[in-house]
């Protein structure tokens, strides 16, 4: 894997600005914003032993991949200054750039001193300058951190580049097809397998502090919900009732899981107290109630129910009470997920014969379809709420895709091997 990552990075040097190759991953912008801001990330000056990570490529790929920026290809740069006093801003104005970033990285094999500056090309003004050190394995993270800083400075919103995603994929081993639960950087690099089973793994859900993942495993050939601590790899079975044990979702304070159980008949939503394993039943009836998700203030649970004949989203107080229907458009709305600020709710919606991702504005209840696939599912918001990550079918395979919350930007993250499903963006 390490060797593969190195090869990929050399491939990156020759790649187009909008296509970045990660370890087996391709990011392709399938729909860009009309108003993408031109920015040039000049290759950083280098000194000493700095390894294989090219910071400017990572930053360029992050910002370009967000769809909000249009990055300048290295080949199109007239000069490649690494110090402020060597910049001729006219060169960059001619190239139609609004902003530019220069920097330097000096390493000794164990530690890197990194410095960068962001300039307004039109008036030559310095907008931001940072200097910091990073450890031997932190270079990509340092680059994502730079991307976050630039993104926030220029858009006013926090970046989500230095974050992680969890997803389920497959691998063919000597003993047959295996299901893998993996955690990777948000750009697909550094994938690590945290659980593996010959039977399905489903529904990874992050704890609010990002330290744990709850998921469903069928490795006993029955469904069971586990909570696994990432730092230690230790996992604990928290629900193994007869029938369905599914759809775990951490409460905002991390103390409880909303889950689906069918032990009492049809699938219903329950709240599981993680400290004493106490169960509170939230829904009842003959119909399907599943896919709970918490509002960020913890007061409300949104879930999928077919009590009206077709699956629609409903809300219910998390302390119990009366449920009320939330979605009315179309005959299929399922698997809601709140944005961090609670203002938006992503869902799977049927659109003609296609299944797409839609985002509901909670205040106005208006619903906007943001994806354009045939079989899109499993939406989850980026921590800054600007993007929705989801699973899509591309040819015969399942891949990941990202759309901006307004649907203006769409990109595909295509892994070279296996199916990628059930993505969950870490908080």
């Amino acid at each position: 894997m390490m060797l593969f990552a190195r090869i990929s990075i050399t491939v990156l040097l020759a790649s187009l600005f909008s296509v970045a190759h990660a370890a087996g991953l391709t990011i392709e912008i399938t729909k860009g914003a009309q108003t993408a801001v031109p920015i040039a990330i000049v290759p950083f000056g280098q000194g000493g032993a700095i390894g294989n990570v090219k910071l400017s490529d990572v930053v360029s790929s992050d910002l370009g991949g967000s769809g909000f920026f249009k990055t300048l290809a290295e080949d199109d740069m007239l000069t490649k200054p690494t110090e402020a006093q060597k910049i001729n801003f006219k060169d960059w104005q001619v190239l139609g750039q609004d902003y530019m970033v220069i920097g330097q990285v000096i390493g000794n094999g164990n530690q890197f001193n990194i410095e960068f500056q962001l300039f307004n090309v039109n008036n030559g003004g310095l907008l931001m300058g940072y200097r910091f050190t990073a450890g031997a394995h932190e270079l990509r993270r340092a680059a994502h951190h730079i991307s976050d800083l630039i993104y926030e400075k220029l858009t006013g919103r926090k970046g989500s580049f230095n974050t992680r995603i969890a997803y389920v994929t497959n691998a063919v081993r000597s003993q047959g097809r295996q299901y893998l639960l993996q955690v990777a950087d948000a750009d697909g690099f550094n994938p690590r397998t945290i659980a593996e089973s010959p039977e399905p793994i489903m529904a990874p859900a992050w704890s609010p502090d990002g330290a744990k993942i709850a998921y469903v495993s069928f490795h006993t050939k029955r469904s069971e919900i586990y909570v696994q601590t990432l730092a230690t790899g230790q996992r604990e079975s928290v629900s193994a009732y007869p029938g369905i044990n599914g759809a775990p979702a951490f409460s905002p304070d991390g103390s409880r899981l909303a889950i689906t159980l069918s032990k009492d008949g049809s699938p219903d939503v329950y709240i599981l107290n993680l400290s004493n394993r106490g169960l509170t039943r939230l829904t009842s009836g003959m119909s399907i109630e599943t896919e709970p998700t918490w509002s960020p203030d913890g007061s409300t649970i949104v879930f999928t129910s077919d009590q009206g004949g077709k699956p629609q989203l409903y809300t219910i107080p998390s302390s119990g009470g009366k449920s009320s229907r939330l979605t009315f458009q179309g005959d299929y709305n399922a698997r809601g997920r709140f944005s961090t600020d609670g203002r938006s709710l992503a869902m799977v919606t049927a659109n003609g014969g296609d299944y797409r991702i839609a985002v509901m504005d909670m205040a106005s209840r208006t619903v906007n379809v943001v994806s354009s696939g045939r079989l899109d599912e499993s939406p989850s918001f980026s921590p800054n709420g600007s993007m929705v990550l989801f699973a899509a079918k591309s040819g015969p395979r399942s891949t990941l895709a990202v759309a901006s919350t307004d649907g203006a930007v769409q990109q595909k993250l295509a892994f070279e091997t296996g199916e990628i499903r059930e993505p969950a963006w870490a908080p």
């Binding site: 300058g129 932190e138 993270r141 593996e196 399905p200 399907i288």
Partner: protein
């Protein structure tokens, strides 16, 4: 003036990044590495009797009637219509044949593995798969099969037998597999 501001920002950044990297050590460090992935999850012992598309009936004690294509017992997959858990007329006699066999072999156990096609959300499809299994379970119970002989498991859309993204694949995936134990 500009210079001063720049170094103020640099100083703040140093604090920020220091905080950030110590976080990383706690969250990712070497602890989430290869060791963690292998610890406690390779259940090799479980691969003995595979339940699923490639030979879900591992029970070797079943009689020749199960492999006689003219006998309804040889058919161990029940297919369903879109968004439906109703056993179709053409499968009623097959379910009935299995129910008769089970009623006369009270020690024989069967897992009713429910499945759905890939469309829509995966946890909702788990619920749909379970409804299909439970339809078959109800029919069998009404024909004298005891509850202890039957186990309902739903795999939703997680275990397709056909991988296309069209009705010909979907119709093969909307199914209940009778897994004799």
């Amino acid at each position: 003036m500009r210079l001063d501001k720049r170094y103020l920002v640099l100083a703040m950044a140093a604090v920020l990044v220091t905080g950030c990297s110590s976080d990383e050590k706690e969250g990712l460090g070497d602890t989430l590495g290869a060791d963690a992935s292998t610890s406690g999850y390779s259940d090799g012992s479980l691969s003995g009797s595979q339940f699923g598309s490639n030979g879900f009936n591992s029970a070797s004690h079943l009689g020749p009637e199960f492999s006689d294509p003219n006998n309804p017992l040889s058919k161990q997959v029940i297919y369903f219509e879109l968004d439906s858990s109703q056993v179709k007329q053409e499968y009623v006699s097959i379910v009935a044949a299995h129910a008769r066999y089970l009623a006369s072999h009270p020690k024989q156990r069967v897992i009713l593995g429910g499945n759905a096609d890939e469309r829509g959300s995966s946890e909702y499809n788990i619920a749909l798969g379970e409804q299909r299994s439970k339809s078959v379970e109800r029919m069998m119970r009404s024909q004298g099969v005891s509850a202890s002989q039957l186990e309902v498991v739903s795999y939703g859309e997680e275990k397709p037998v056909a991988y296309g993204h069209d009705e010909s694949s979907w119709s093969q995936n909307r199914r209940v597999e009778l897994g004799y134990q």
